[in-house]
Amino acid sequence: MNTRRRRLGLLLIAPGSAYLLLAFVSIVALLVSYSLRTTQTATLFSTFDAGTWSSALSDSYLWSTVGTTLRVGLIVCVLCVVIAYPLAWSLRAMGRGWRVAAMMFVIFSPILVSVVVRSYGWAMLLRTGGPLGGVLDSWLYHEPGVILALVHVELPFAFFPILAAVRAVPAELGEAAADLGAGAAQRFREVLLPPTVPGLLAGAQLTFTLTISAFATPALLGGGRVSVLAESIYTDIQQLLWPRAAVQAVVLLVLTLLVLAAFGLLGRLVAGRVGTRSAT
């Protein structure tokens, strides 16, 4: 029975695993292989050289692109969390009912709509002569416009992990703290905030990693002036600069992994602190 279950398990998981391993191995192999060339070619193995790497790393363009990518990622991440956090508490405070359901649907609905369509909507709002064109005239095709649209795109991904964390906080916790004489600020800082920090970090991590690899929104709202890594990779391929695109793809992948690792570390640090505090 046991060996049969094992064999069945292996049989069931084999196709999916084979696909993923194939995809991942080829992705890493191809990236490395193509970044180690200097000319565009369709042959898989030719002589390798590090020319593209050394010229890309000494090029200030790459560094400014990395800078823009990280700056936009950070700002969007902070804005999303700053909006999503009070949003989650507000929804919790509303309890249940059709209003909450309607608001949940409003927050969720952008996920069902293509990123291209949403970015286009912002372009229409911001363009000269558009509804917001008079007030936010200089935003379209500049960084603020890209950031605004990206906050719109990534907000649900910050919201849901935070909502899950906020909903898990027992209602009695705040009441007990109030009974013990804690003021509103103290109650929030010392009782209600700590248990939601993991959810907050999960939301921030998700929005940060999704934003630094976002392509369509910066491409449509940046107007070529806001160059982030994802868009730069695409432009390089259009210009047949495969090796340079591969170098930037490796940089983007490494950045993503670094961000994930940093958040993982942060999460463990926070968990450690909460743990020691509840122990004392």
Binding site: G16, L30, V106, S114, G121
Partner: protein, 279 residues
């Protein structure tokens, strides 16, 4: 937070979320070339133009085919994998669970670039074909299917299936008659979500097709880079209405069939799934 402050805040957020969608919808039936405020008249002209624009017609068919194939493959592969990971014993379960979630942290443009290079250097015939694009989409869809179906399976009572086996049902029959009905809701949500994700995908698809025959969102993207006119609004509106209709219909059908009343339904799975996303 006082009640009024909270209401104003929620109202502002709702306006922020809905504004770009509403402006697209309004522009597609307005007579104005550039919408600046309230529309000055109503017209079906842009919708008609969008429906007769060849790139959008081809794009729609292309997208439906890609989404159907990619969804079917990822649901079959993903459900089998989820069943093995959450119901059976497989060596290295932890590592395998990480493997199946890992594509989520892979930037889509990086995967797109790699599939492009892979096709260009090894299988040139796959570039720009429905099968090639669908093959690449499976990478994005698999993690969603495995997490959603896995969450559904994890909340199940395993004794029911064991009882069926003890009563002489084969493994397949037990799965089909006992387990499958219990995870119908998760499966349905995973299927719809996978289909919409594939249908709307741009970041990866844009690398895999020549500019004249592309999926619908890529066709919109490429057209937007050239010019922005109400025809694009019209096709975008059709996409918004289509996605909302599809989700609404599925939700309604699911509710009618009593899918979401069972334990392990949407509301219960939502937080679990989100927590699993960051790898």
């Amino acid at each position: 937070m006082s009640v009024w402050l909270r209401r104003i805040f929620l109202f502002v957020v709702a306006v922020f979320i809905l504004a770009p969608l509403v402006v697209v919808l309004v522009a597609s039936v307005s007579t104005d070339e550039v919408l600046s405020g309230l529309p000055s008249g109503f017209t079906m002209h842009w919708l008609a133009e969008a429906l007769s624009y060849p790139q959008f017609q081809v794009g729609f068919q292309y997208s439906v085919q890609v989404a159907a194939i990619a969804t079917a493959c990822s649901v079959v592969l993903g459900t089998a994998a989820a069943y093995a990971l959450y119901r059976l014993e497989v060596p290295g379960t932890r590592l395998l669970r990480t493997l199946f979630i890992a594509p989520l942290s892979m930037p889509r443009v990086v995967s797109g670039f790699c599939f492009f290079v892979l096709f260009a250097s090894l299988v040139p015939a796959a570039y720009g074909t429905v099968g090639g694009v669908a093959f690449a989409h499976v990478l994005i869809l698999l993690p969603f299917v495995v997490s959603l179906v896995g969450a559904g399976l994890a909340t199940l009572d395993s004794s029911l299936e064991e009882a069926a086996r003890d009563l002489g049902a084969s493994a397949f029959t037990a799965f089909r008659r006992v387990t499958l009905p219990q995870i119908r809701a998760s499966l349905l949500i995973a299927t719809v979500f996978a289909f919409l994700t594939s249908f709307d995908e741009v970041d990866l698809s844009v690398f895999l097709m020549p500019a004249d025959t592309t999926t619908l969102p890529v066709a919109i993207f490429l057209r937007l880079q050239q010019n922005q006119d109400p025809t694009t609004s019209a096709v975008s509106s059709l996409m918004i209405v289509g996605s909302l209709l599809l989700t609404g219909l599925v939700a309604l059908a699911g509710r009618k069939a009593g899918l979401f009343a069972a334990p392990g339904s949407t509301a219960a799975n939502q937080p679990e799934r989100k927590e699993e996303q960051p790898a």
